[in-house]
Amino acid sequence: MSIIIDAELCTGCASCMESCIYDAIELDNNIAKVLPNCTLCRACIEACPEEAISLERDDAKAQKVDISQFKGVWVVAEHYKNKIQKVSFQLLSKGRELADILQVNLTFVILGTDFDDKLEEFSQYGMDEIIYIKSPILKDYYSDLYTKVITELVLETQPEIILIGATATGRDFAPRVAKRLRAGLTADCTGLEIDLETRNLLQTRPTYGGTIMATIRTPSSRPQMATVRAGIFKMPEKIKKNVNIRKIEYEFKEQDSVSKIVKVISKTKTPVNLEDAKIIVAGGRGVGSKENFKLIEDLANVLGAELGGSRITIELNWLDPDRQIGQTGVTVSPKLYIACGISGAIQHIVGMENSNIIVAINKDPDAPIFNFAHYGIVGNLHEIIPILIEEIKIMNLNKE
């Protein structure tokens, strides 16, 4: 199997070289040549304006499944302390959109206990069906139990798309389920679309720390599974609708779970809730010191905002780890995001670019953050923020 370049069609335009993140194409006599370190990722095939690049496949492609047998979109619920997590509801709103395009049902799958009297409330979130797998042990999360139940259910009902929150829980069981089903799974998606002709789910996700976006599809197998970031899609509107509820009392055997939960340790002081915050004030290295963060905190306080930061502020111990925003922290989408002394590295951007309004304060006019901001202020944050705080205080007084 290899990438083939048609020397007749190749114009030496180098588009393929630019698309190659592995540096595995060079120009030889003005014709593209593939080097041994090619990983067959196929980015160059899409990039070539002349359609001069193709993939030569062996015949051994895995046995084809009849993908037309698979119908329907699923969202698997995540819950903690008997509360369904926001990301699951956000996935329902995206799931509704996908199901409508495909003209199929949207199913909410809950593995838990004590949800009986909450199903009515959940049914306002736009699904057509709820499958509720009930067992006392499902109060907590166990990877082997989730894997067992979900695979059984998939084999029985054959959905074409399964959406799961890209959390420590979702990213734990989704791969295990995918492996058991031999299904394709895309991690940490930030965009989902349908190619109606093939019914393929086009899954867009950041890679290389968000430097590059990749769109991935699963053309020849079903279900198509994706874990999806929290905070990317909006909460669904509540609607009145007839929802079919299927409740299954599930009995596990002793040997179904090998692992035991010994205990849960909470480190909480006051819980940080960046995901739900309406306003976030975030500081970066430009804040200068732990002491100086007091200023950022003051701004957050007058705005009733949550405090966040770039990774460096966490590494320097200026802020607690749960306040990190970005690729390796949380993804947020507040109404207002004020970035103070943050340069706007792509790993930070992917965590906050969905905010409605972004304000950037940075003394460097060329800081990349300004490419993403709605309002930019070039200047010293230590001079600007105290005055901003005073102005907001006055506004707050006038409101009262």
Binding site: M1, S2, I21, N37, C38, T39, L40, C41, E46, A47, A60, A62, Y80, T167, A168, R171, D172, P175, R176, A178, K179, A183, L185, A187, D188, Y208, G209, T211, I212, A214, T215, I216, R217, S221, V258, S259, I261, V262, K263, V264, I265, S266, K267, T268, P321, K335, L336, I346, I357, P368, N371, F372, H374, Y375, G376, G379, I384, I387, E391, M395
Partner: protein, 264 residues
């Protein structure tokens, strides 16, 4: 334990003018999380006299990361390298790694008492999917996002980070697989003697698809269910409204805009 060679991503940048990748000076490194996996394996080796084997799948250049692992003190290094492995997604990668692990286990007397340590995620693809898929294929339990581990006889007790502020303590019997976070330890630097040994004496063992007796429909591109349709650079939003004037003016303008936007 499983190590992956990755490009040093912190250095992968986009040239804002041409919107292309800047690759100059981008070196290949051991995936950061895998250094922690290595360190943990070495600690277990010292405390429990276990044998540590590092496994990597990749092109021949990946031998470098295995040399580094040998220099840190592992006992044996195996590189899975074959053109037929190329283009693998996590499903095919985990299958290939599992074949090699089964092969190695067969050569040992005990196929029961083993622990697989992976990094929680690789910085290039950043999927974190290989560890659970590998555990599933081996038919053993997995615990991901581990930040502390206690090994005693035939069981492990680990601390798994599952929310920003919550840790769950889980106990499971061996054999098992864990994937570790950066917080679990501070990886050591190889000693001079270790480096000498790794480069002069130690061998990296190579397995190709023949050696693994691999089914060609389950490895590389053929064994992959996902397919990259396209790769692109994140879209840049343009034309921010830049606020100018004295500090007071700028602040007042900002507040006015935010009022107009119904934020205030």
């Amino acid at each position: 334990m499983c190590v992956k060679q990755v490009p040093g991503v912190s250095e992968v940048r986009i040239d804002p003018k041409t919107n292309t990748l800047v690759r100059e000076g981008v070196l290949s490194i051991i995936n950061p999380n895998d250094r922690n996996a290595l360190e943990l394996a070495l600690i277990l080796k010292e405390e429990h006299k276990v044998e540590v084997i590092a496994l990597s799948m990749g092109p021949p250049q990946a031998e470098e990361v295995l040399r580094e692992a040998l220099a840190m003190g592992i006992d044996k290094a195996i590189l899975l390298s074959d053109k037929a492995f190329a283009g693998a997604d996590t499903l095919a990668t985990s299958h290939t790694l599992a074949l090699a692990i089964k092969k190695v286990l067969k050569e040992f007397d005990s196929e029961e008492n083993y622990l697989i340590i992976c990094g929680a995620q690789a910085v290039d693809g950043d999927t974190g999917q290989v560890p659970p898929e590998l555990a599933e294929e081996l038919g053993i339990p997995q615990i991901t996002y581990v930040q502390n581990l206690l090994l005693s006889e035939d069981k492990i007790i680990v601390e798994r980070k599952f929310r920003a502020t919550e840790i769950v303590v889980i106990e499971t019997k061996l054999p098992a697989l864990i994937s570790v976070l950066i917080d679990i330890n501070k990886p050591r630097y190889p000693s001079m003697a270790g480096i000498m040994k790794a480069y002069e004496k130690a061998n990296v063992i190579y397995f190709d698809s023949m050696a693994l007796n691999a089914d060609s429909s389950k490895i590389g591109l053929n064994g992959s269910m996902t397919e990259v349709k396209k790769i692109f650079f994140p879209e840049r939003k343009v034309n921010p409204i830049m606020l100018e004037g004295s500090t007071e003016e700028v602040v007042r303008k900002l507040c006015q805009y935010l009022k107009d936007d119904k934020i205030f």
